[in-house]
């Protein structure tokens, strides 16, 4: 039986610190609030844009019936073939180049996907002022570093050469 389990049997809480409560602290609540809003917005956009794509209200850049032939290729081959056969852009559509194709039903879906992938950066940005205000330098530094890591990942600067 662990110390905590013994404590539970005797009804005694262990390691209690004065001032602590079982409620989440303000930073955690703020983070959760931003995360929830971003998640709903991202998922909602993803479903809405997918509906536009599937109903054909917005024509796709890649004909849907061609997809079974294309998704068996590696990502590198896929980008090359799609650009050569359908998009005819100066460069393959990797990184953020999908932004130039938002008028196409399939590429419009990337807005919701990117939002889902970006919401964590916004969450960290949201709690950062509180961490500075509290002079919680260690966690402020961690938050800044995390934002740098995620922005770097999102930037497309970190990539594998084809």
């Amino acid at each position: 039986m662990t110390e905590t389990e013994k404590g539970l049997e005797t009804g005694k809480n262990l390691n209690s610190s004065p001032g602590q409560t079982a409620e989440a602290d303000a930073d955690q609540i703020l983070y959760a609030s931003i995360l929830a809003k971003g998640m709903y917005l991202g998922l909602g956009l993803l479903l809405a844009t997918f509906a536009l794509y599937m109903t054909g209200l917005l024509q796709p850049g890649i004909p849907i019936e061609e997809l079974p032939r294309l998704w068996t290729l590696s990502a590198h081959e896929y980008l090359e073939v799609v650009n050569h056969e359908f998009l005819h852009r100066p460069e393959v559509v990797d990184g953020w180049r999908w932004m130039a194709l938002l008028g196409m039903g399939d590429y419009l879906n990337f807005v919701g996907i990117a939002l889902l992938a970006a919401v964590t950066i916004v969450c960290y940005g949201g709690i950062l002022p509180n961490l500075f205000r509290k002079k919680d330098w260690i966690y402020a530094t961690i938050a800044v570093l995390e934002i740098i890591v995620l922005v770097l990942a999102a930037s497309g600067l970190v990539a594998v050469g084809h």
Binding site: T2, E3, T4, L8, G11, N13, N15, S17, Q20, T21, A22, A24, Q28, I29, Y31, A32, L35, A36, G38, M39, L43, L46, L47, F50, I64, E65, L67, P68, R69, W71, T72, L73, S74, A75, Y78, V93, D94, G95, W96, D106, N109, F110, I113, A114, L116, A117, V119, T120, I138, Y139, I142, E146, V149, L150, L152, A153, A154, V158, A159, V160
Partner: protein
Amino acid sequence: MGRFSECTRVFAVLTLVLVITPAALYGAQEPATFMDAGTTAWWVWPLSLFVMTFVMGILAALGGVGGGVLYVPIVSGFFPFHLDFVRGAGLLVALSGALAAGPGFLRMNLASLRLAMPVALIASTCAIFGALVGLSLPTNITQTALGATILGIVVLMIMAKKSTFPDVPESDKLSSILGIYGIYTEASLGQTINWKVHRTLTGLVLFIFIGFAAGMFGLGAGWANVPVLNLTMGVPLKISVGTSKFLLSITDTSAAWIYLNQGCVIPMMVVPSIVGIMGGSFIGVRILRVAKPTFVRWIVIVMLLFAGAKAITKGLGLPFIV
């Protein structure tokens, strides 16, 4: 007993659907032949993906694993999609699940932001390197390594014990400096539980490998997060599960961006997968009230064994029974 037998039948059928349907659709052919076949209507693929992920969502919720760990090996093993796109979709599936669950866990204080932040910084950084390595290696090597990792996860699932309230006599220095401790209300006992952590440095080092594997294979990393948080660092099981789920929203974000920027995301695969697995999880949580979690956990273990073996044989170009 009767209810248990009914559950047994239901899960046997779900498992059969999950494993046999893709094989029946594609006639156990290797991917190279799918390109030439061209006989299957395009809509069969997203529809079958939706059905499969819906079943996966049910089994994942009941088996206590994330969707990503089932998604990547099963879809890459039994569907014709290239591993690049499966890993991209797998990360987005795991990310969506984590984003959906994260706010609730944080608000209920069943996930700890202070515990997650240092861990996430390490895991998300290493996930980027994992993604870059995974996308650089030849597909057959990545597929074989994926199979080996899945079989390792199976061993971990069988061997790893869980501790509801781990014994942490003393906080270590690092966790004290970081202020990692907390209190939560254990509803089943009607008591507040104080928790603290130890072996923080060891835990952080282990998250280097967890992040790397998550990025390399596109797996959600809950299978590794929970044992490290719970058994190594001494975090209570409920906080470990909640923090692990929330952690995926950060770890998988960094890797997802790498896959997204490399063109490894096809919306026609991603959206049916996300909707399917979330819908399945929703149903799974409700079935959990009548199901035997231990039994379902064994079904998940058998499925992972099967998918792991398939990934290895596919990577090595060996024949497989299905």
